[in-house]
Symmetry: C2
Subunit: 403 residues, 2 copies
């Protein structure tokens, strides 16, 4: 029995390997109304110009511009019509309404006087003035999106305006979440001494959904080679199997062996604190991501490996995590060669121009989940550093940001 | 007919008034597994300590510390037991396992030699050493959360660990989304000249869901006093009714009158560009938020008024919108007295220490939705400014950020 991993991977290397072993999923066609947050699986060009007709850009009167040429000097009277605009005609229009045939400009209502059958125009307009041309927003066949674009609210509107009722998107990656450990009991049971309630799988299943996947939250699997193997074999039709617990090198930590027997272990041991015992492998072309059992380690590695794996399987680049700048109140220690994720709280800034105060939490314990829920974010110390000194400017990552 | 609003409100004033007219909703009890993203409607204290038993913090042997006192000088042999730890006993333990009765410390496995029935201990330990005490993470009855806390993935784990299977959360605000305008046609119909496909309601319904509400996406209502009135009356059992279109002061813009007849118009005309024609009122204690018909104005006012209204009705403070710093490449003009929301694209930074380049889009047209979907975010110029010059450092708001 040893506490050393044979070959500890740097996070960047682990991520590179992850990109190689995870493939983009299949695509499906969904209605634009149901496509919010989904990722385009094909480029999109406009099927229809927006607008597809010339429209008034102001409330006022549609006219032939040449009829207003002399209006700059003295008002010109035009006949009001409700039909096409002939010579010396004017038709009332509202912002956005169809420019009547024959008209080529709009006089703003503020520059007119209404006499019922006639209207006096007090300013001259040039052809096209106060008219929104066809395709002002989008031309027919204009390129709108590349493959991999994630559809936000405004995109749904633009797609529908440009003639789409359905779009081709990647399927949401299917992720099996398997909590492991003989010490675990399910929710609803009162744990005895030595037992703990399953929480890692619950949190990870939520993260899967939040990051664009579909989670299958499985029952607890005990520390038994056959049971663990069966749990993995059952879900190799998923894009990803995520296990929690059972990744260390103690006697009961059987998962890497079980994965290795069925396929390959690509990484076991990560140069990350907390999160060191993590790893992943491949079984039947399915990524098996082994998250540590300590809840803080589990969250760190989920964010650092599961999130990019989901993005890869879902065909998109994940948005960068929101960051808040601030100044460290106390030193964040770090072991050279390890990438350290330190929980911090953020206060202020008190006034414009001042900086927020970033205070590392007192604990670095990987089992102290409350230190995560009570903190505001994370400061990341890279491998080459022995820590960050008090007074240093840092960017706090906010993993929990909600839209 | 005039294009002037009687009383144009500054955004901050409009928001203050909004806070006064929107009430927090009712609460409901949901299972912790279904509570992700929801907002606590009551403070939460731990029902159970975490851990609720003393546990080993290392792989090794549980012992009575006093038995190891002399081990610093020469190894001490202890009898291995699988039961309670009596004098001169040692019981094998794994990280996280229950500390056996009688033991008060753990010797790390690296400081022992295993001889089967006996184990040699090569280092002394003090009482409590390598033992995680009861409540190391959370004490019984410890305050965990205030009312208004939104539950992230880690919170679900902590709640369950601390003895909760259900929590009391605010109901998700119910929002009726009513697109209005005689020029609108529903999705699936080919629009004639003068007609446009309904897109604002679709985008707004998505934003409602993204911001924690439940959207009822209604059919298009034409510009008719009775039809608009009936549409509002139908949905006053919702927390919020949002209309799109029909807010300007043209002949067909009837909504403020319809709202005023049934209740009060609190704001009509907002000192915001684009978004000027927006407003809101109250009918039967329900907020009626009138969003402009131009798609860019509609999105701006939705973000500035609907998002805080949803947060208020849902009982939480919205997270600040993620911001990216950068330097303006070109001037952003702004009219003094108006708050201007400029679409921008962001490039770079090319290298560490450099700043991103922020380029305003060429159009300021409120009808050009593609300018939103092709941009990366927004620069906000406050009311007191005539615009931002090229070279200025700005913070780009990213409204579309996805977790």
């Amino acid at each position: 029995m040893t506490n050393e991993f044979d070959d500890v991977a740097r996070l960047a290397e682990a991520r590179e390997r992850l990109q190689e072993v995870v493939a983009s999923g299949d695509s499906e066609t969904v209605s634009v109304g149901a496509a919010a947050g989904r990722t385009l699986a094909a480029p999109v060009r406009a099927r229809r110009a927006v607008p597809h007709y010339e429209r008034a850009a102001m409330d006022g009167y549609a006219v032939r511009a040449e009829d207003t040429q002399r209006a700059g000097r003295s008002p010109v009277a035009l006949d009001v019509t409700a039909e096409d605009v002939g010579p010396r005609n004017a038709a009332q229009v509202h912002t956005g309404s169809h420019l009547p045939d024959g008209a080529d400009a709009v006089v703003m209502v503020e520059q007119t006087r209404d006499f019922g059958d006639t209207v006096e125009v007090e300013a001259s307009v040039t052809p096209g003035e106060n008219v929104a041309p066809v395709g002002e927003d989008v031309d027919t066949d204009q390129h709108l999106y590349d493959t991999g674009h994630r559809l936000a609210a405004a995109d749904l509107g633009l797609l529908r305006g440009a003639g789409y009722d359905e779009v081709e998107v990647y399927e949401r990656p299917r992720v099996s979440v398997v909590p492991t450990g003989e010490e675990l009991v399910p929710a609803g049971e009162e744990p005895e001494p030595g037992e703990i309630v399953e929480t890692n799988g619950l949190s990870v299943a939520r993260l899967v959904e939040r990051w664009g996947g579909q989670a299958t939250y499985r029952e607890i699997v005990t520390d038994d080679i056959d049971a663990l193997g069966a749990a993995i074999d059952r879900d190799t039709d998923h894009d990803i199997v995520v296990t929690t617990g059972g990744t260390s090198v103690g006697e009961r930590d059987l998962l890497p062996a079980v994965v290795g027997e069925r396929g390959s272990v690509e990484v076991h041991g990560l140069a990350v604190r907390p999160g060191h015992p993590a790893g992943f492998g491949v079984v039947d072309d399915t990524l098996v991501l082994m998250l540590p059992g300590y809840p803080v380690s589990c969250l760190v590695v989920a964010t650092q490996l599961l999130r990019p794996a989901l993005a890869r399987a879902g065909g998109f680049d994940p948005d960068p995590i929101p960051r808040t700048p601030g100044v460290l109140e106390r030193k964040v220690p770090s072991e050279p060669g390890m990438r350290t994720f330190a929980r911090v709280s953020v206060e202020g800034p008190e006034a414009d121009g001042e900086q927020a105060t970033v205070t590392p939490t007192r604990t670095s314990g990987a089992g102290v989940l409350s230190s995560v829920t009570l903190s505001d974010g994370w400061v990341v110390v890279p491998e080459g550093s022995e820590g960050y000194e008090a007074g240093r400017e840092v960017a706090v990552e906010r993993w929990d940001w909600e839209p």
